[in-house]
Amino acid sequence: MNEHLLSFESKPESLIVNVRGHWVFDEVLALEAATASVQPETGQSVTFQCAGLEDIDIAGAWVLYDRTEQLSMLGIKSEFIGFKAAHFKFLQNIIDAAAIRDYEEPTGTPARPKRLSRAVENIGSHSTAFIEDLGAIARSILEGVRSPSLLMVGETIKQVYHTGVQAIPVVVVITFLIGIVTAHQAAGQLGKFGATVLVVDLVSISITREMGVLLAAIMVAGRSGSAFAAALGVMKLNEEVDAMRVMGLNPNQMLVIPRILGLVIALPVLTVFADIAGIAGGALIAVGTMGISGLQFVERVAYSTDLTDFYVGLSKAPVFALLIAMVGTLRGMQVKSSAEELGLKTTMAVVQSIFMIIVADALFAVLFTRMGI
């Protein structure tokens, strides 16, 4: 079956194997099957006659070599004859490499730590690193406040532009649509009680207190939290952060603080836009499909919603901004070695900041209820 690769001549003292054809990478499966059929009888040695070989590469030569190794382990001697020099050098490579390996193997390689122990170790080192980073950032905030540098101001303004101004369209569109959805859903339910006009209350209160700021924050976490982590991560990989350190610049002050400050300024502003857009979305449904006039709508909003509701929503924005920016920059700064890690940390930044926003929002809800606001 493998006659294009091997044929046999059996002599009393030795089995002669005629090797021919193409012994190359693409044929490795067939070659392995062929060499496995080299089964000398007891007392026979094996002679590989390689004059008929047309082509060989390292993979092919390895299969041949591997079979002689297996045979020698069974105590069967084998030899090669008739090799062309141009072909033999491939086999020679393998013999050389195998010699290095045999020389190396007894020393053994140190066992790598097991997965579990490594995971435990990671938890410890990660949490200490996290606390350390947090402390370093807090300290640079203090330093930044004491001696604000012009560089930081410029960088902060840039961040306000990237994270705030550029996010306005998408935040406005999203909250406008959510305003429409809320009003639409509420209209169906409240209409059953004949309390259609309360739709206005529901939309304006829910948007100003909760939805506006939450949607803006989640949007920003997706947009800017990931951008922070990715940007800082690449800077770490490019040794830009190290370059800053050796120039005597504090990367926390240069990179982290402006991002945190920028977002703390930008998110409240975005929240205002979000609130207006959300209520506008509600107005579209109320005026368009529910027979409430524009004037009635405005009156009803003014009657049901006061500035406290608006401030309740707005007061959460800086806190959410702080969470997003801290998590994003921290994760970015944790990137050390690989592109894989960069992706991982960016994902972590987004998931964790959204998670923390929602947890913080729940805490706020409890707090404001207790305070009676």
């Binding site: 490795v28 050098k89 491939f90 393998i94 195998a98 070695s337 690989s338």
Partner: protein
């Protein structure tokens, strides 16, 4: 001499900047061709064009009789590339990096794949103790060797090397040159090598291609040295090139 790579009337233009202007270059079987040129002369652009990573403005490139098209699978079974910084996949271990091309192009059992990959690592002078490490845990020189092992994984006919000795200390660079010569002699490789290392140029290259004025001056070392192009004269006229030339001469007499 059988032509392995043939570049015909290659033009590469970026805006108003002309990098290649009707460049023609042939690479013959089993030779080591060194590619040199000043910064911005288009060494990398030429290599990327040959590899199909860059769309040339015009011109045809043929490798092993197959015409290269931009971002189309070329004869990737038949060539291996050593990128300047190694370009190892950072999420995979050394062993997995070398096994990856083998797994892509064959249905060998795991064990065979593993053995072949180990063999390639040994052939590039690496100890198998690095096999389970990640690229980020290796030194620059080791990363290059792993990358070379990966380039050799599919038994290529052609090897592209982008500044193989850049960033290596003189000892490591000399060893790497020796490794390239060894692999060239033992694996019947055709090698196209971008290099600025004058020791490599004098020591291991069969022919030199110098990119100047959008074209190429190509020939053996002596032929290129005889050229009176001002850039070539100044390139090989600097003291370090002179010293490398003398050193290469001495080695020859020895």
């Amino acid at each position: 001499m059988e032509t392995i790579i043939s570049v015909r009337n290659l033009v590469n233009r970026f805006g108003s900047q002309v990098v290649h202007d009707g460049l023609c270059l042939d690479v013959g079987r089993d030779e080591i061709l060194g590619l040199v040129g000043g910064s911005g002369s288009g060494k990398s652009v030429l290599m990327r064009s040959i590899l199909g990573l860059q769309r040339p403005t015009s011109g045809t490139i043929t490798v092993l009789g197959q015409q290269i098209k931009y971002h189309k699978p070329g004869p990737s079974r038949c060539w291996g590339v050593l990128f300047q910084s190694g370009a190892l996949l950072s999420g995979l271990t050394v062993q997995e990096n070398v096994e990856l091309p083998i797994a892509l192009y064959s249905d060998m059992p795991l064990e065979t794949r593993h053995e072949l990959a180990s063999l390639k690592l040994l052939m590039t002078g690496l100890s198998l103790s690095v096999a389970d490490k990640y690229p980020s845990e290796l030194s620059g020189g080791m990363r290059k060797r792993v990358s070379l092992a990966r380039a050799l994984a599919l038994e290529p006919k052609i090897l592209f090397l982008d500044e193989p000795t850049a960033g290596l200390d003189p000892i490591a660079a000399t060893e790497f040159d020796q490794l390239i010569t060894y692999l060239h002699d033992n694996l019947d490789l055709t090698i196209l090598m971008i290099t600025h290392d004058v020791d490599s140029l004098f020591g291991i290259c069969d022919r030199i291609a110098v990119l100047v004025d959008g074209g190429v001056v190509v020939g053996t070392m002596d032929e290129v040295l005889a050229s009176d192009h001002p850039w070539i004269r100044s390139y090989f006229g600097v003291p370090r090139a002179q010293r490398a030339r003398q050193a290469a001469g001495r080695r020859m007499y020895e």
